[in-house]
């Protein structure tokens, strides 16, 4: 009983860790897509940010400089996406794919050229990384049954960026639904002409959305490389950008719903990690590969219509051109 409880708590703890980049990316995508810009380049931007931050951390030893560099590079990529899609009315999917390909290729090539480790960056010492934070009274609370255990094992002891990610959901919700900027952002994704005729610049609104998107993917990538791991590994994002995009769609482009979807994917991943080598009655040792494929299978199944109709922002993917 005690063991099962601890197992569940530790799994949930892992879920939060694994879900963090997904949550940040989903919120990033939410800003972009709510403004009407499809962003499948979450993956690429995250990858670039991961590589940049790992490199800067390895060179300077400062995680803060690394974070700044990671965010800057991801934002740059966002601006390229924006320049192609907003200023030049390019196809948003094509631009996104291009960014993903560039990101995957460039990080591998530069990594190889600079560090000669097959695309990997040097392992970082803990000073150059973001390390877990013990919340106050975690040790003391650990002795209180259940609640204390949950606090100590699940809530406390995470990386600072994990808390940032959770806070970001609240902030996103507040910005989108409670502020003037959010109102306009939602409007521009539904009917950009209405925004234009109301005397607001469609392009500037969308650029701001894309910039926020870059900022958040930058944090996500940095988390991957210098918080969750201690170096950059080639293609280390491993499709998480796409999973975040799927979570955003399950979440019907709403912050809390998207958080739920991210946590679900995180949970599946965490279970996969936990189940490694564990022997289950009747079945024997669980094939880890099977559990690891679960998020992807689930993506396909759920997207095929199990979540009800996800209604996208109406103007999504359509460049805004004044008629004639």
């Amino acid at each position: 009983m005690e063991d099962t409880f601890l197992f569940v708590v530790l799994t949930l703890d892992a879920m939060l860790r694994v879900a963090t980049p997904l949550i940040l990316c989903a919120m990033a995508g939410l800003f972009s897509e709510r403004s009407g810009i499809v962003d499948i380049s979450l993956e690429g931007k995250m990858l670039v940010a991961a590589f940049t931050s790992a490199t800067v951390a390895a060179l300077t030893g400062s995680p803060w400089l690394a974070l700044f560099a990671g965010v800057s590079m991801a934002t740059m990529m966002s601006l390229i996406h924006g320049f192609a899609c907003i200023t030049h009315n390019g196809n948003q999917v094509v631009s996104g794919v291009a960014i993903n390909i560039i990101a995957s290729g460039l990080t591998a090539v530069l990594g190889n050229a600079w560090f000669h480790r097959g695309g990997q960056t040097p392992s970082l010492p803990s000073e150059a990384r973001f390390m877990p934070i013990e919340l106050p009274f975690a040790e003391a609370a650990g002795s209180i049954p259940i609640i204390g255990t949950i606090y100590k094992e699940m809530i406390s002891g995470h990386n600072g960026l994990v808390y940032v990610a959770i806070a970001m959901v609240l902030i996103t919700w507040w910005v989108i639904y409670r502020t003037r900027f959010g109102l306009r952002l939602r409007a521009v994704g539904e009917n950009p002409q209405a925004v234009d005729t109301a005397g607001i610049s469609v392009a500037w609104l969308r650029y701001r959305a894309v910039l926020i998107c870059g900022l958040l993917t930058g944090i996500a990538g940095t988390y991957l490389a210098i918080a969750q791991n201690a170096s950059f590994v080639r293609d280390m994002t491993a499709g998480q950008g796409y999973i975040a995009l799927a979570a955003l769609i399950f979440g019907k482009w709403k912050p809390w719903h998207a958080l739920g979807a991210c946590l679900m994917f995180g949970l599946l991943d965490a279970v996969a990690i936990r189940m490694q080598g564990v022997s289950v009655q009747l079945i024997g040792e669980m094939p880890v590969q099977l559990i690891q494929t679960m998020p992807y299978i689930l993506t396909v199944v759920l997207l095929a219509g199990f979540i009800g109709k996800a209604i996208a922002p109406k103007a999504i993917g359509i460049p805004y051109v004044k008629e004639r």
């Binding site: 639904y177 409670r178 502020t179 003037r180 900027f181 959010g182 109102l183 306009r184 939602r186 409007a187 539904e190 009917n191 002409q193 209405a194 925004v195 234009d196 005729t197 109301a198 005397g199 607001i200 109406k314 004044k322 004639r324």
Partner: protein, 544 residues
């Protein structure tokens, strides 16, 4: 600044009426020129609008009305020319500048976010605070004021997309007033309204006028111009042709000015020889994907040699009915018999079979269904009939035959420009429609199902199209026509059916119908004692 301007405008508007007095003009456009590539959309346009009046602008499609209004609202900038608002020269290079100058615009296609509440839509872009909640408080009190003053009542918390179009339009007007517009431009405001909604709109416009608001009304409906405007300006081919006081002109004169020649109303020719029923619809029901009936248990017949007009506000099941009759949508319940072929849920048919049954279809939305806009006229002229052996003697299309066919039909139906290689997208609406009619009528159909035959078509072409439909009818073709234009229904139909929410609420001979009653039936407000039961009463009366 903008307040000051508009206040002067108001006072002057109330004080003097003479258009020669400079200060009394709310708007003055001088020598406006605008070209799109080689097309000169506006040529030296001058327009004086007296403050506090309702000023109509009429013209055919492509006459340059919308371009002119877009220039005034800052959507485009004029190549040359000056804009004066209340006597002051202003530069309007964006919608923002237009709003600042006190100009508000109600677009033909509403500029509303469907998923937003009414309040959010009105606030959008004119929020008084970075936080929505603060802006909402202020906006609510202002809007309550406006609603009381002008009778513009809309529930502020309603989701905009769920409101009827008449109310959405009120939201658009409120939006402009909330931005303190003293000049209101309305672009074809009545196109989507029921007759009773139109009356309500006109009440609102009169109330606004009494408060000193200057209103520019763009329309092609001359009846409305005569009913509500004080002055009217006529545009043709990008030029301002004439200015008239409404009281000193007539519908006939305006029509002539618009087209550039005398126009006759299509003759109201009664059907001569009506044959047996050639289309029989019995208890037809069509369901939406959510199983909501779009066409609800209707029965009617169309006989050879008659035109049956289906009147109704768009969106009351007429489109679905046309789709079913042409085999585009399946029958969900009931049955249809056309030329002896029975169509039921178990025996469906498709558009290809419809053509072999000699059914012709002129769809409501010619860009989506009637033509491929990127095709040239030769390709459009065989669209749907591309499998006919006369076009396909061997493996390939015979380009020469197709070309000759296109030339012949273009000449027969006076399609201009007479160039088989012209892209459909580059033809005017009237010529596109003539091309489609030529294609369909030339096959000598025994049934023709036509939706909105003259939507977006110039007055000159309307006359021609009406003639063609009447001629076809006189050859013994059974014609079912769906139209939202009551004038058209009255002019062409031998029998009139009114649809409301998928049901037939009236079925009568043309002689028994008048526009006013039809209008009420379309809004399902015919029986004033009890609107809801009235529909059923009328409906059963119509079927008996």
């Amino acid at each position: 600044m903008s307040d000051m301007i508009s206040d002067t405008a108001t006072q002057d508007g109330l004080a003097g009426e003479s258009p020669t007095n400079h200060l009394a003009l709310a708007i003055e456009l001088k020598n406006i020129n605008k070209s799109f590539g080689a097309v000169r959309a506006n040529k030296n346009v001058n327009l004086p609008v007296v403050a506090g009046t309702i000023h109509g602008i009429v013209g055919e499609n492509g006459a340059g009305k919308s371009t002119l209004m877009s220039i005034l609202y800052g959507f485009y900038e004029a190549d040359r020319g000056e804009v004066f608002i209340a006597g002051n020269k202003v530069r309007i290079d964006s919608s923002k500048a237009a709003i600042k100058a006190g100009i508000g615009m109600v677009h033909q296609h509403f500029m509303l976010v469907d998923t937003f509440t009414v309040l959010e839509n009105i606030m959008l872009g004119a929020e008084s605070s970075p936080l929505i909640s603060n802006s909402a408080i202020e906006a609510t009190s202002i809007l309550e004021h406006l609603a009381d003053n002008y009778g513009l009542h809309v529930r502020l918390s309603a989701i905009t997309g769920t409101l009827p179009v008449g109310e959405q339009q009120r939201v658009e007007i409120l939006k402009a007033l909330y931005r303190r517009a003293r000049i209101l431009i309305l672009d074809e405001p009545t196109g989507v309204l029921t007759p009773s909604e139109t009356d309500q709109l006109f009440e609102v416009l009169k109330a606004l006028k009494n408060e000193g608001v200057t209103i520019l009304l763009i329309t092609h409906k001359l009846r409305e111009i005569m009913a509500i405007t004080d002055c009217v300006s006529v545009m043709r081919h990008g030029e301002m042709i004439a200015h008239r006081k409404t009281s000193e002109t007539s519908k006939e004169e305006l029509a002539e000015l618009m087209v550039g020649r005398k126009v006759f109303d299509s003759l109201n020719r009664p059907a001569e020889k009506i044959g047996p029923a050639s289309v029989v619809v019995e208890n037809l029901t069509v369901l939406s994907s959510q199983n909501v009936p779009l066409v609800d248990n209707i029965s009617f017949q169309v006989r050879a040699g008659e035109i049956v007009g289906i009147a109704g506000v768009s969106g009351n099941g007429q489109s679905e009915l046309l789709d079913v009759l042409n085999g585009i949508r399946p029958v969900d319940q009931g049955r249809i018999v056309i030329n002896g072929r029975e169509i039921t849920p178990d025996h469906p048919f498709d558009p290809a079979e419809a053509r072999t049954l000699k059914i012709a279809h002129v769809p409501e939305d010619r860009h989506r269904m009637g033509l491929v806009t990127k095709f040239d006229a030769r390709e459009s002229i065989i669209l749907g009939y591309q499998r006919l052996t006369r076009y396909n003697p061997g493996m390939l299309l015979d380009q020469q035959v197709v070309n000759d066919e296109c030339n012949r039909l273009m000449a027969l139906f006076d399609v201009r420009p007479h160039q088989p290689e012209i892209k459909s997208a580059n033809m005017s609406g009237g010529n596109q429609q003539k091309l489609i009619l030529a294609r369909e009528i030339d096959k000598a159909p025994t049934e023709l199902f036509v939706g909105q035959p003259t939507r977006g078509v110039d007055i000159g072409a309307i006359e021609f199209i009406h003639e063609q439909l009447l001629d076809l009818r006189d050859t013994g073709c059974a014609i079912l026509m769906v139209s939202v234009e009551l004038d058209e229904i009255m002019q062409l139909s031998d029998r009139i059916i009114v649809m409301f929410e998928g049901r037939i609420v009236a079925d009568m001979a043309r002689e028994e119908a008048d526009i006013k009653t039809l209008g009420l039936m379309m809004a399902n407000a015919h029986d004033t004692t009890d609107a809801d039961h009235g529909a059923q009463a009328t409906s059963s009366a119509g079927e008996s």
